[in-house]
Every structure is written in structure tokens, then in C-alpha cells.
Symmetry: C2
Subunit: 180 residues, 2 copies
């Protein structure tokens, strides 16, 4: 697994594990169906030792065109990206690709629920920031990072507990515009 | 690209290309945001020649846990799998993994729009079959394939044209339960 390959690819695994465990919880308790997409790779060489066997011998990581997670909650389309930062004061925007932000804006436009989940690892705090609020910030400034204070003011702190580890659905229920 | 690797991996590329072109059309004309997920691979060996460079040296195709395509249309979650068959009389169920059918049933249960798109290549006809109808058939029989007649009766023929090549959204609009 990628997990064991190097510290380079290990970045952000704590948050990723928490989100995966949370999504498994949602699946198990029939709350939502949300998955992480497979890592996008471009395959250059493969061998076929048998009719149903294939070994990839040369491949490269691709820049993702969308976000990492998507799925369904109460019929609604959910779409988000999750990132960690060690900084205590701001989240560097270089962590998210420009086309991922464009993608999240499109999701909002089409009536889906788009957001980012950002963990400040040193502070041990994880925030959900909706895509429209993220976009508003980006359009208002030339700054290359989002201040921690912006998350505190316009984002939502996701409580961490044993299960589900990171209950972001609770925030969507309260503030995501799903009323039933 | 996988496309050029072998005839083995070439299976179903005609339909896949048509769906990808259709999804690009939907994106371009701001109709829907629907993507094919990356092919799931398990990476066993990778090399890191530079700090931001990675070459995958050994990897294997994974059995997918979900379907190939998902996205958002009018706020609703869309999820489907697409398959081709050369048979003129039936679609072999071995083409779809059991957990993909289970996944599609979950999507329906959670208010999403799940379906399969099946092309009978010899007949040059492509059908959309909603997940609930697919499930009903599977639960009613021990047969290992779905007769062509079932698609004709309970599915919807997707018209093929220049652009969009395979307008499956038209069928969702009419029969997918989205009323606005």
C-alpha cells in the first residue's frame, strides 16, 4: 500500500484514516455512502502473464482533476477535499489545486454540497469550510493562504470522538442546506 | 494509456469513450458534473528519483468497490456502471461485480439515482436500466444473464447522436424521479 512507501506519500494520512473510518461508520450505520476515489495514475507499461492477470510495470501519479471524496447523503451529492497543515496560523492554498477549487465551485453551482476539511495538526483542530465561503475568500484576496482565524469565524469545528471519528455529516445537517 | 496496452484492456472502450465525450459535453454546457473514477490500483513498489517525483514500478489492478461513474445533476447524486456485450440475446451478469450491484442498491436507498448503461455492440443499441429494476430482476431469478427483451421492456434506449453522443441525462429527466 502507498502508506508504507515513503514519508512523502505519508503526508496527511492521519486525517485520511479518520475520514475513511468515518465513511465506513456512515456506511455501516446506513447514514451515507461516501468513498475516497482511487489515486489517479497514468499507466505506461503493463505485462500480461496470463489471460486474467496484469502487472503494471511503469506508472506515474496524475494531477487529480477532481477532489478525493464524493458520495450521497439524503439524495444530495457530497464532494470534498481533505488536507492537513502543520502551520498554527494559516492554511497554504498551494495544498489545493486550482482546478479542484474550480471543481468545488461547479458542485455548488449544480446544487451539490462541496467543501474542504482542513486539519491544523499542531493545534489538533479540524474544520469544515463550505466551497462558497472558500471561493469568497479566494476572490477577495491575493494571499496565498487562508488564516486560521478565517476557519474559526467562517468554518465549523468538527468534533473528534471514538465513533464516528470525524462527524462531518452533523455539520452538513445543521449548515449544509439540507432540510427535510 | 491503458487503451494501447492490449486487447484485453480494450474491452468496452467504445462505450467508455462515448460516455466520457458525453460527460465532457455536460460539463462544457453546464448541464451536469459527472466523472469517471480513476482505475483502482494497488501499488507494491515505487521509486522516488526526486523530492516531487515518483515512478510506480509494480502495481496491480484492484477489484473496484464501487461503480465507474458518479457526479451531480440538479443537486442529485448520480451513480452508474457502463458495460458492453457482443451477445444479441442477453447481458451476462458476470460483467458486473456483486458488490457493485450492492453499491447501486445502496445508492437508490439513499435517494441517489443509480443505474447501469449496457451496450449491445452487435445490435448497436445502448440501454439505461435503473438500479431498482436491475435488482428486481436479479432477485426474481437464478439466471446468470439479463435477456435483451428485459432491457427493451424495462430499460430505456439511449439515442446516439453527434453531441452529446449518448444523452443519458434526457432519460434521467424523464424517468429518474427528478421533478422541479
Amino acid at each position: 500500500m502507498l502508506k508504507n512507501l515513503s514519508t512523502y506519500s505519508n503526508r496527511g494520512m492521519g486525517l485520511e484514516n479518520d475520514i475513511n473510518a468515518t465513511n465506513e461508520y456512515y456506511l455501516q450505520y446506513d447514514i451515507a455512502v461516501i468513498y475516497k476515489k482511487p489515486t489517479a495514475v497514468t499507466i505506461h507499461k503493463a505485462e500480461y502473464p496470463g489471460p486474467h492477470q496484469a502487472i503494471i510495470k511503469e506508472a506515474y501519479f496524475k494531477t487529480p482533476s477532481t477532489t478525493d471524496y464524493n458520495g450521497v447523503y439524503k439524495g444530495k451529492y457530497i464532494d470534498f477535499e481533505a488536507k492537513e497543515t502543520k502551520s498554527k496560523t494559516s492554511f497554504p492554498l498551494s495544498n489545493i489545486h486550482a482546478h479542484q477549487i474550480k471543481h468545488l465551485n461547479l458542485i455548488t453551482k449544480h446544487g451539490g454540497i462541496g467543501f474542504i476539511i482542513v486539519r491544523f495538526t499542531t493545534l489538533n483542530e479540524t474544520y469544515l469550510l463550505f466551497a462558497d465561503v472558500l471561493d469568497k475568500y479566494i476572490k477577495s484576496t491575493d494571499a496565498k493562504s487562508i488564516p486560521y482565524s478565517y476557519f474559526k469565524e467562517y468554518g465549523y469545528l468538527i468534533k473528534e470522538k471514538y465513533a464516528p471519528r470525524l462527524n462531518y455529516i452533523e455539520i452538513i445537517d445543521k449548515y449544509g442546506g439540507i432540510y427535510e
